[in-house]
């Protein structure tokens, strides 16, 4: 029984320490409580916003936007990456463009997208998809290129034709890279999305909730919103991608657990 408690205490301890430090700073520090609320205020605001359904609805609309944008980026990104990996002309044309575009922060395009597509959901989703597509394209391309020559030869020796080679060897062989790309793409989509919601004035969304709270100096609302953002990001990583990797790559021994 006591043995089982130790890891739990170890996991909670850092948060307790940080909470105490925070509280001390809130009470003794230079900021008025409006700007630097104590832990109990943040917590009660969090509970109040959840009970009223305000946080859930903002979180839900943010998630919906994320899913939409990420699906778009995933479909187009993987398709383009595969085409680049398979055809020389596509590689020659798209590789320099994606390599140059990749380090430009997706957010920098936000004003441009607002001008082109107006305010609201459309520019938000398109911009997030655009930003998330880069790592997906580049990793998929690398994956198709990195499929081991010996697998191709072995499959050809066993009579695989081009189509079969593609579906049964190239695609599963490139999967580790494709999954890495999707993972990076999702992380990027998540980071960009919160900021984009601030800039494109969507009606509902965690980014907008935080940004809007600034007008009324509701720091407690902002911090509650940030907590939800952290939680969602954490769950996305743990539940979606680690599961997926467990089911495929770790099982196949293409990646260590």
């Amino acid at each position: 029984m006591r043995r089982a408690l130790i890891p739990f205490v170890e996991a909670v301890l850092p948060f307790v320490v940080v909470g105490i430090l925070w509280q001390a700073f809130a009470l003794l520090g230079p900021f008025p409580p409006r700007l630097f609320p104590g832990v109990e205020t943040i917590f009660s605001t969090f509970v109040r916003l959840v009970a009223k359904g305000i946080l859930p609805i903002h979180a839900l609309s943010t998630l919906l936007r994320l899913i939409l944008a990420f699906s778009l980026a995933g479909l187009l990104g993987v398709a383009l990456g595969i085409i680049m990996g398979r055809y020389r002309w596509a590689e020659d044309f798209f590789l320099p463009l994606t390599s140059i575009g990749n380090p430009i922060p997706g957010l920098a395009y936000a004003p441009l997208f607002v001008l082109w597509f107006g305010l609201g959901n459309l520019p938000a989703v398109l911009l997030v998809a655009f930003a998330a597509a880069f790592p997906i394209v580049l990793n998929t391309w690398t994956g198709v290129k990195a499929v081991k020559e010996i697998w191709i030869r072995a499959a050809q020796a066993m009579g695989a034709q081009d189509r079969q080679l593609f579906w049964k060897v190239v695609l599963p062989g490139a999967l580790p890279y494709v999954l890495t790309g999707l993972r990076l793409g999702l992380a990027r989509a998540w980071r960009v999305l919160v900021a984009v919601e601030m800039l494109t004035s969507v009606r509902l969304g965690l980014g907008w909730l935080i940004f809007g709270a600034r007008e009324f100096l509701n720091t407690d609302v902002m911090l509650a919103g940030i907590a939800v953002i952290g939680l969602v990001g954490f769950l996305l990583e743990k539940l979606v991608f680690q599961k997926l990797e467990q089911l495929t790559l770790v099982r196949w021994g293409m990646m260590e657990a």
């Binding site: 170890e10 996991a11 301890l13 850092p14 948060f15 320490v17 940080v18 900021f31 700007l35 630097f36 020659d92 044309f93 798209f94 590789l95 320099p96 463009l97 390599s99 140059i100 575009g101 380090p103 430009i104 922060p105 997706g106 957010l107 920098a108 395009y109 936000a110 004003p111 441009l112 607002v114 001008l115 082109w116 580049l138 690398t142 992380a187 998540w190 980071r191 960009v192 999305l193 919160v194 900021a195 601030m198 800039l199 965690l206 980014g207 935080i210 940004f211 709270a213 600034r214 100096l217 720091t219 902002m222 911090l223 940030i226 953002i229 952290g230 990001g233 954490f234 996305l236 990583e237």
Partner: protein, 261 residues
Amino acid sequence: MNRSRTRAALGALCSVGLACLIWEGFARSGLFAPALAPSLTLIVSALGRMVLSGAMLWHALYTLYRVLFGFVLASAVGVFIGILMGRFRRVERFFVPLVSVLMPIPSLAWVPVFILWFGLGNAATIALVFYAATFPAIFNTWTGVRSVNRLWIRSAEAMGADERALFQKVVLPGSLPFVIAGLRQAFARAWIAVVGGEMIAATNWGLGWVIFDSKEFLNTDVMMASLAVIGIIGFTFERLIFQTIEQRTVSRWGMVKTVRG
């Protein structure tokens, strides 16, 4: 080797040229108003005007000042914490839960809070850059120190290395590939954070601020010109600086294969 590099550069130039041509055709087709889709000549002349007047230089310098200040601070703190985590179990146990909870929070979510705390301007943006860059630096350094090959440590010990020498001569160089990768990632995050932060939290100067400000007046040409500068600076750091450091050190030791793209 050299010939293939020039060929690759030439190919890149061709494809960028082709993309420019497509854009020019699109801009001049009249589908979008010129104010929304300016032609290349407009963009280039806006860029030239801003460079000549010195305005672009100041915007870029402000942005660079903010990003480098935050990045250097974050690297120092991040690498330090990362090494401590890799070397001491207690430190590791304390920081791992915190890092794994704070890392997935997009740095830009903090902008409104930082504005309230630090006011509009440099301090808020630098704090933001710091937040964005610290976690990749911590995480990668920690991974690097842990992944130092046990055989190297054993053979160094067998050759009489003490704790200090072990750390300086084996652990540090051994984890360097990860540290460099971490700093590279940290800079990429910092660059995103600075541009986003400037859009929301800056006053009067900075590349992000220019872009956001020109939206108000439909100055799409200025926007595109600033985007180009952002791209060029990001590309310079990513390709010229970090890649060179990597090639000078870890690739020469054969520890990583440099993957293009």
